[in-house]
Symmetry: none
Subunit: 174 residues, 4 copies
Amino acid sequence: MTTKQQQILNAAFDLFSNEGFHAISTNKIAKLANVSEGLIFRHFINKEGLLDSIHKQLKLNVDFLFLEILNEEEPKDIIKKTLDIPFKLDDNEIRNLKLLFKLQWELNNISVQVFEIIKNKLSKAFEKLRYKHAELEAEFLIQHLNGLTSAIIRNQILNKESTKALLLRKYHLQ
Amino acid sequence: MTTKQQQILNAAFDLFSNEGFHAISTNKIAKLANVSEGLIFRHFINKEGLLDSIHKQLKLNVDFLFLEILNEEEPKDIIKKTLDIPFKLDDNEIRNLKLLFKLQWELNNISVQVFEIIKNKLSKAFEKLRYKHAELEAEFLIQHLNGLTSAIIRNQILNKESTKALLLRKYHLQ
Amino acid sequence: MTTKQQQILNAAFDLFSNEGFHAISTNKIAKLANVSEGLIFRHFINKEGLLDSIHKQLKLNVDFLFLEILNEEEPKDIIKKTLDIPFKLDDNEIRNLKLLFKLQWELNNISVQVFEIIKNKLSKAFEKLRYKHAELEAEFLIQHLNGLTSAIIRNQILNKESTKALLLRKYHLQ
Amino acid sequence: MTTKQQQILNAAFDLFSNEGFHAISTNKIAKLANVSEGLIFRHFINKEGLLDSIHKQLKLNVDFLFLEILNEEEPKDIIKKTLDIPFKLDDNEIRNLKLLFKLQWELNNISVQVFEIIKNKLSKAFEKLRYKHAELEAEFLIQHLNGLTSAIIRNQILNKESTKALLLRKYHLQ
DNA sequence: AATGAATGAGGGTTCATTCAT
DNA sequence: AATGAATGAACCCTCATTCAT
């Protein structure tokens, strides 16, 4: 991975993240990256190839976010750590999730499998905690986290701390 | 509003909803609408004007969805009716919401004010029901409905009935 | 067929004829035709579509050249008229044949069926004239006309009149 | 001439011969030659320089084809040997002529002088054989050989043996 | 000699938009 | 109101070529 390759990826990341894939031209990417337009195609074949590269990196980063949960076995801790994720996101992680959400809604072929895996993990955790409808509870929680993360990404949340506290209370984890 | 104007709006609606605003050309819209491309500009000035028309209609439709809640005064019913919305959506309403969500993520200048109003309504309702953190609860519920609606739009929900039942139980409304 | 469409066809014809298909850009065609580049694609879909249009017209013109022969039934006259063709070409017909030959050599999917038909006609004529190897003679004559026409197109011929006289003598038609 | 230089020449030869000069990019040549694109320019300055190298080699090969004729002094043998050429071409010689013809039609600055020299040789031969219009006969024969060779290159000939026999008969050489 | 990253001009094509009818 | 021809800027991408290594 050369420097210029990184410059291209960074520029594309930011532009896609702010304006979307179709709204951004390879010319704009090249200019922001301080690179000739042709270089994009030498390294990434075409605009979609550039997107794929970004998408792959994105998936790795997001998977990494959830890694700790997958290694956790204590039911309460699984849930606790899951709830915790939206609140401990640093700027870079928010940047990643913003692009992921954006692409997921703009393009039809972008998916996030990790949520499915987390759902299963949560489902088993709720089961162990003797929740009546474990799978449903897992799905429900994922839904909430999805909405919550959306709000965080868009900066539409009033008070992270109290929101988190409320969430913990609802799941009797405080 | 002439017939052709409606054809254009319908075509643009479907195409934007499936592929997004920037991914669709006025040429494609004209073809699907069975109309000359020039007519789009006679009626809507430019592509953005067409989007505005759709967006306006969209807002009206979505506002209408929540109308009943705004007229409701009984706290429990306010919450009940709010919870009920994602589950009683007909195909056309889902179509509307899908486009709204899509545009909201693709473009930066699309907003949905009605949620803010509902949030206030909910906030007061929770207050009357003596919830400790009424506003927070309202925000929290809105977040969940957002995630839930996303899932419904994308057909990512297992069982609407039991999901609704769970939601009602969580709010002691059953 | 609008005026501008004709301008495009004429410009492309001349440029292809002088420089070849791949050596000429749509930009150059548009400039010579005094037309916006986009118009080429509106009328002919793409560069190859433009070529197809020219090729179709070309075939018609060339077929027309040989029409008289196909309607002839007298063996000696069939041969006479065939021999005559390369020598009575006017500027426009030479222009047509030049492009046809050029395209045939540059591109692999350009063919000239009319020569096959003429060959059959000649074959029957030679048969009636009791030539021993009628088909071979026909093929032979076509070969010669091909080389002769090449020379005429490239202006590599010394004296048309005497060349024609020689040809007639060789076939005892004088 | 290094190995890689040869690889480049071979690749370019084949590609030009099949697709033409303008249809082939230096990138394609480098790939087929298993060589870096830059190397083409180190050895041949530019794409045209590569063409020149090929063209020079081509001329040598074609000249060699006719060498025997130039050394012949017996009129009948001159004609006989000239007639013979198109029929004794091996695969490699056909490959050479194919490219030569192709380039001659695609590009305007490619010429084949050897034909002019052969024409003179033939002209003198016909003179010695007391043909009335020696030069014309020479030109005529060259024309035929041109058409015949075209047909052979394109594989458009039915029966080489009988074609050759016919040709010999026409010139009373059998 | 040889590579492969890098460039900038130009390739064909699509875009939103205008205009005459 | 409606069409469809026409435009010119911008699109993604490929080109021949250069340069550092």
